[in-house]
Symmetry: C2
Subunit: 150 residues, 2 copies
Amino acid sequence: MSKVARDYVASLRKPDDAETKYFGITELAAACGTTARAIRFYEDKELLTPRRINGGRAYTRRDVVRLSLIQRGKAMGMSLAEVKHILDLYGERGQGKVAQLEYILGRIDESIGELEARRDHIATTLAELKIIRNEMLADMKRKRRKKPAA
Amino acid sequence: MSKVARDYVASLRKPDDAETKYFGITELAAACGTTARAIRFYEDKELLTPRRINGGRAYTRRDVVRLSLIQRGKAMGMSLAEVKHILDLYGERGQGKVAQLEYILGRIDESIGELEARRDHIATTLAELKIIRNEMLADMKRKRRKKPAA
DNA sequence: CCGAATGTTGACCTATACGTCAACCTGACG
DNA sequence: CGTCAGGTTGACGTATAGGTCAACATTCGG
């Protein structure tokens, strides 16, 4: 498992205590290379749910990794709704009854299926582009042989 | 190379002749499982440029595969602008001077890089989800052993 | 106590990717 | 000749993913 996801899953097991360091929205934005506006937007869509201290949002390391997972999802071409799905899958595990676990398992299998389809599409297109690339390289060699100083 | 892309690249070599069968926007939409509105929208964004017959749009097999490529791009999480990029790469090859070929080659390499990054993100997330899946299956087995009739 | 920093909500603006609807044209059929 | 399927453009509406700006609260340093 990647560091970010491992950290996140681990952080779910230990609740926040007095030792927990909280930080503001600007710091979180800087840490993850995004903007405060985007972070508030994600909260609006329930992808992040920080505590409130004096009316201000208070984030922890948990939120850093969660936000990183959001960004990875976006890099995969997922919508925020899809990312929320995946995050819920990370979060809900471990504490359910068997029926709940079976439901979540079904959703995980769905997500896996969709991601595999997406991955296969990408693999196909990548292979095609690489073939085109090689054909072009061959063309260029041929042309350069024909008129080397043109 | 996939059938759809192979067909498209092949179709680029032979121009439309009198034998070419044209068909309307509704047929194209049905053939590709999309809507006429979407197809007109793609034309607006210059992803499709059908001939006009009596004011109406006339499509060929070339457009069918091109539209299929558009849909595959979307399934990969690409924007229409990105898809247009890829389609241009399919289309522009073979007829350029060396300098043009080098430019196009650069763009192909960019696209390949982006797609590889996206593929790697997906691979990582897939691996994580599969681990979670297996942990959950193990949990469920354990719970069922503890209270089999609950 | 004042101001700068940091934060808040709310409202409005933007681009993308279409759906929906209106009003119109146009060729084929009876 | 009417009309009906099939097509056209244009205008407006919708959801997503934010950016931008205004107006206001809070807290810290001097």
